[in-house]
Subunit: 417 residues, 2 copies
């Protein structure tokens, strides 16, 4: 059995704690370490204060084999990471002539002289190795002390990423023997988390010990993540394949993808593979279905266009819905949405026409048609399917659920052909 | 001198540590607590394991007055937050009949029965108070133990935000005496952060000590937050008003709002106040402008509808753009986008027609019209304005920048009338 390698991430900066800066660094670092099979055990964000930083270093040394630190490396007074690391490792400081020459050169190229603050960036703890920084003036610091690795990098994402890719990740890969890990993402749509969990209970209880399952729920989609870990790559791949086969047998109809792709992109792939095109008539979704489809590069190969006839006169005059239909059944009705889907299909010369009409809320509901009453339709020239939803969320969620339900209807229709 | 109130945030979930989910919850919570004058001292993200969660709870109890916990509250096996809290506070569990009745009712409305997993969500530690969850099945838990507040909320952002706004923030505000704070948000559009900072340098350097300025930059909008803190409310309000007046003198033309409202809503307010309506012809934005407008409740009062003529034949046959115009100048041209805006205005019976046509990327660029070349237009019946942009971002950002630029063009045009 190979020992797991654990990392802890420390982000330093008041601006993160005050909610002014979203910390995307630790997210990126996590994903990169995961690819190497190094497990991030914990992430901590602490303030620009000596006490907080020293505590975080001590806790991290206790928890992990590798400690990656971002932030607090600028030239100003509130940047405390370097003096804290020197104190923590009881290391003297020295002026690194190479770093100083590089700094002087960079400033000269921009026609500027080094000031005392900038010069201070070349003063470094004796105990650290330099991690080069192509994009900024603060060098990174690599400490190998008491059997643990500590690396300090700037908080500027571009500088941090350069150091990680150029130095830190390759060196960690060489230094540590890590267990073999395979992650498999499974994307489902159209089934609530609890129903999915119920259907998968037996399967989950019988998973081999090498495989772990996690549920990652969203508003209208649930992702499952299977993680296989061990020493024998071929064995893990086989085990994972066997479990994926079982999973498809149980809930295959809800699975739309096993990669990074989104639902609209999957619908696009299906349309492309069958040489079909789509057009949309969106009332209550107000352009959201179209936006999801066209967010994918290359969508012009299968997407013809859309009309958003928000007012009834546009539904009648510009989309050809019969005035009598709206008068008799209302705009939010099976009859209207059916004509919308059929007409946009013909009008825009597409193979498939989809449509939505409903009350997204929070206003506009009536006793017979309360907020969340939403009709959708799909016309493919042979038949027209319609569906009624009663969503009970806020406007944004009702619109998003409707758009995804329409895309899922397209997916189901194309998958069954 | 008022005592500082400290909070610690705990995010629970392997998916965050593995870099699969970006933790935006703690960012949002930080900003909200900051508005109350509560300082977030530390944020920790830990794994879905009992040991990690119990350790994090003990550390947080030691560090802070308030501990806010997100994640790990789903109905499935890997959701460990509730049992860990029960263990940590040595609390028995009981079946909360009210929560159970609410769950049963929710499921009944959707025509479903409760399964055992869902029913388990109504089992709660005796020592906690329930925090209602309008958008999901997992109730939040509020513990007031050993002089500290612990609140556990789901990781789904919508559910967490509802609980924070509905219960947690108002209750914390009442419970803790925090220094008097006034936050004033100022929303700008159409000016980069560095240009804005340059224009505001003198003003910022002369701000009274009671007022602090923060830049919150986004892709196409920069928000400024002025925070006045002290004891004398009337004095703070006066100071803030004086500085706001100066700010408007410097950069008033870029300011579209000073509240929570978004740019599309502001455009809607302007249209409403002038009794005007709008229609959109969207090519490269693919429905995004329409989606931003219709995301606002009540938009049917000023929004007529849209057409997304993704293919040239739709631009010609369904929007009436002259075939010669496209043949001579191309679909991505000033001439085409001008006709699109003028035609959709007439076709959809609106006062204002806007249009977009461009190359959002990453493919489709040519040497003459590289990716990011985007034309937009606004026709109001008297004149038609056009603008050319050269955005250098990814597809998603190019689309978003274009949509916001169109909305800003509408804002500027209406504001100057």
């Amino acid at each position: 059995m190979i020992k797991n390698i654990y990392a802890e991430l420390i982000s330093i900066g008041d601006e993160i704690l005050y909610g002014q800066t979203l910390d995307t660094n630790s997210h990126w670092i996590s994903a990169e370490l995961d690819k190497l099979g190094i497990r991030v055990k914990r992430k901590v964000t602490v303030a620009d204060s000596e006490e907080s930083i020293l505590n975080a270093l001590a806790e991290a040394e206790n928890n992990a084999d590798i400690v990656l630190i971002t932030g607090g490396l600028g030239p100003t007074k509130d940047d405390l990471t370097k003096p804290c690391l020197a104190k923590y490792f009881q290391s003297d400081m020295y002026l690194n002539e190479e770093v100083l020459a590089d700094l002087t050169d960079r400033f000269a190229k921009r026609g500027r002289d080094l000031n005392a603050l900038n010069k201070g960036q070349a003063e470094l703890p004796v105990k650290c190795k330099i991690v080069p920084n192509q994009y900024g003036t603060a060098p990174g610091m690599w400490f190998n002390e008491r059997g643990k690795i500590f690396v300090s990098m700037p908080g500027v994402p571009k500088e941090m990423k350069y150091m990680m890719e150029d130095t830190v990740l390759p060196d960690l890969k060489e230094l540590f023997k890590t267990p073999f890990l395979i992650h498999q993402m499974v994307r489902t749509v159209g089934i609530p988390e609890s129903t999915l969990a119920e259907k998968l209970e037996d399967w989950e209880n019988n998973l081999p010990q090498e495989i772990k399952l996690a549920y990652l729920p969203g508003l209208n989609q649930v992702k499952l993540r299977l993680t296989a870990s061990g020493e024998d790559k071929a064995k893990l791949e086989l085990l994972l394949q066997q479990e994926m086969d079982k999973l498809y047998k149980e809930v295959g109809q809800y699975i739309y993808g096993t990669d990074e792709s989104n639902l609209a992109a999957k619908v696009g792939e299906l349309l492309l593979s069958k040489g079909l095109t789509i057009a949309c008539a969106e009332s209550c979704t107000g352009g959201h279905i179209s936006q999801l489809i066209t967010a994918n590069s290359g969508s012009s190969a299968y997407y013809r266009g859309s009309i958003v006839p928000y007012h009834n006169d546009l539904k009648i005059n510009n989309l050809g819905v019969k005035a009598e239909t709206i008068a008799q059944y209302g705009a939010v009705s099976e009859e209207t949405v059916r004509e919308m889907a059929e007409n946009v299909r013909k009008l825009f010369g597409a193979d498939i026409g989809v449509a939505s009409s409903g009350i997204a809320g929070p206003t506009g509901g009536t006793p017979e048609k309360p907020v969340g009453t939403i009709w959708v339709a799909l016309a493919d020239g042979e038949e027209t399917q319609t569906k009624l939803f009663n969503f009970q969320f806020d406007r944004e969620s009702n619109i998003d659920l409707t758009a995804n339900s329409v895309l899922n209807l397209v997916r189901q229709t194309l998958s069954s052909k």
